[in-house]
């Protein structure tokens, strides 16, 4: 049996990250389930992946902390092997109008969503360059493509993530490595649970599909971009939003 390709997904204990782990495991990849605060949920994802016949491992990784990223990569390299697929999914959001938004919340948002993705990519790229193969998928948001009142930090971080995606795509695209972004619309996860009923209704009305997306629907796109067949897709920004920004 050929050795499995190894993937690391950050923020993978639930939601889109967890669904991505399961999709990748089903595609035959060995998956490191990165989590920050909820090891039990990460272990649940691992158990589900294994129940599907996949190979998975829960790995603690706080993407805001360079040392934690280094530890996580070393652990994955030691127990599974070199990371060939990186899914930068860990995300943070805290809504609030800019005039009253704290610097702490701004930093937490940018550090997690943008700097975290950069630091993980920087750590992953040398081994991908050496292998002349790699996949990085950044989980951005439709908020990267249109403004949202009350989400200045979040939209800035996700727009930044799209910029990071495109620059990295150009830097390493000649080495068999692709870097793409997916932009989910309104997807039912813990992160969107906090949105008020009014906001949810507004999103629902704006979405041609007339419903919210599921984590699995986003995971399917991430899994495609992570696979060998997506080798000519590079620097793309793929919306998975039920037509929200069409």
């Amino acid at each position: 049996m050929p050795e499995a390709t190894i993937a690391l997904v950050t923020g993978a204990s639930r939601g889109i990250g967890s669904a991505t782990c399961l999709a990748l495991a089903r595609a035959g990849l060995a998956v490191a389930v990165g989590y920050r605060s909820d090891p039990e949920a990460a272990e649940e994802t691992v158990a589900k992946a294994r129940a599907d016949g996949g190979n998975a491992l829960a790995v603690a990784v706080n993407v805001r902390d360079e040392a934690s990223i280094e530890d996580a990569f070393r652990r994955v390299e030691g127990e599974l092997g070199p990371v060939r697929v990186l899914v930068n999914n860990a995300g943070y959001t805290k809504d609030g109008l800019a005039v009253k938004y704290t610097t702490e919340n701004w930093d937490a948002t940018i550090d997690t969503n943008l700097k975290g993705a950069f630091m993980c990519s920087r750590r992953a790229l040398p081994t991908m360059l050496k292998a002349r193969w790699g996949r990085i998928v950044n989980v951005a948001s439709v908020a990267a493509l249109r403004g949202n009142a009350g989400q200045a930090a979040y939209t800035a971080s996700k727009a930044g993530l799209v910029g990071l995606t495109k620059s990295l795509a150009r830097e390493v695209g000649g080495r068999g490595i692709t870097v793409n972004a997916v932009c989910p619309g309104f997807v039912e996860t813990r992160m969107t649970e906090v949105q008020g009923q009014e906001a949810r209704q507004r999103y629902m009305e704006m979405t041609p599909a007339g419903r919210f997306g599921s984590p699995e629907e986003v995971a399917a796109v991430i899994a495609f971009l992570s696979g060998p067949e997506a080798g000519y897709v590079n620097g793309a920004v793929v919306t998975v939003d039920g037509g929200l920004i069409a």
Binding site: P126, L129, K130, E171, V172, G174, R175
Partner: protein, 83 residues
């Protein structure tokens, strides 16, 4: 390790990473003009040198390095090998 030995090793790694013949990798050879290396080629070569010699070469130190000889010297300084 002495200087000739280090030089041999560095040249071998550079030749392999830049996909050029070792004979082309002379001390005077300029990465960009003579060896057709772009900036990513150079970064990859530096990663290989770091791995081989267990040294860390920060970006600002890479900037002044234009020739093979300068690269050898940079690694030699890191390792405390003198000519």
């Amino acid at each position: 390790m002495d200087m000739p030995e280090l030089q041999d090793k560095v040249r071998k790694i550079l030749a392999e990473n830049l996909s050029v013949a070792e004979t082309q990798v002379t001390p005077e050879a300029r990465f960009q003009e003579d060896l057709d290396a772009d900036s990513l080629d150079l970064v990859e070569a530096v990663l290989a040198l770091e791995e081989e010699f267990g040294v860390t070469i920060p970006e600002e130190e890479m900037e002044g390095v234009k020739t093979v000889g300068q690269a050898v010297q940079l690694v030699a300084t890191k390792l405390g090998v003198s000519a």
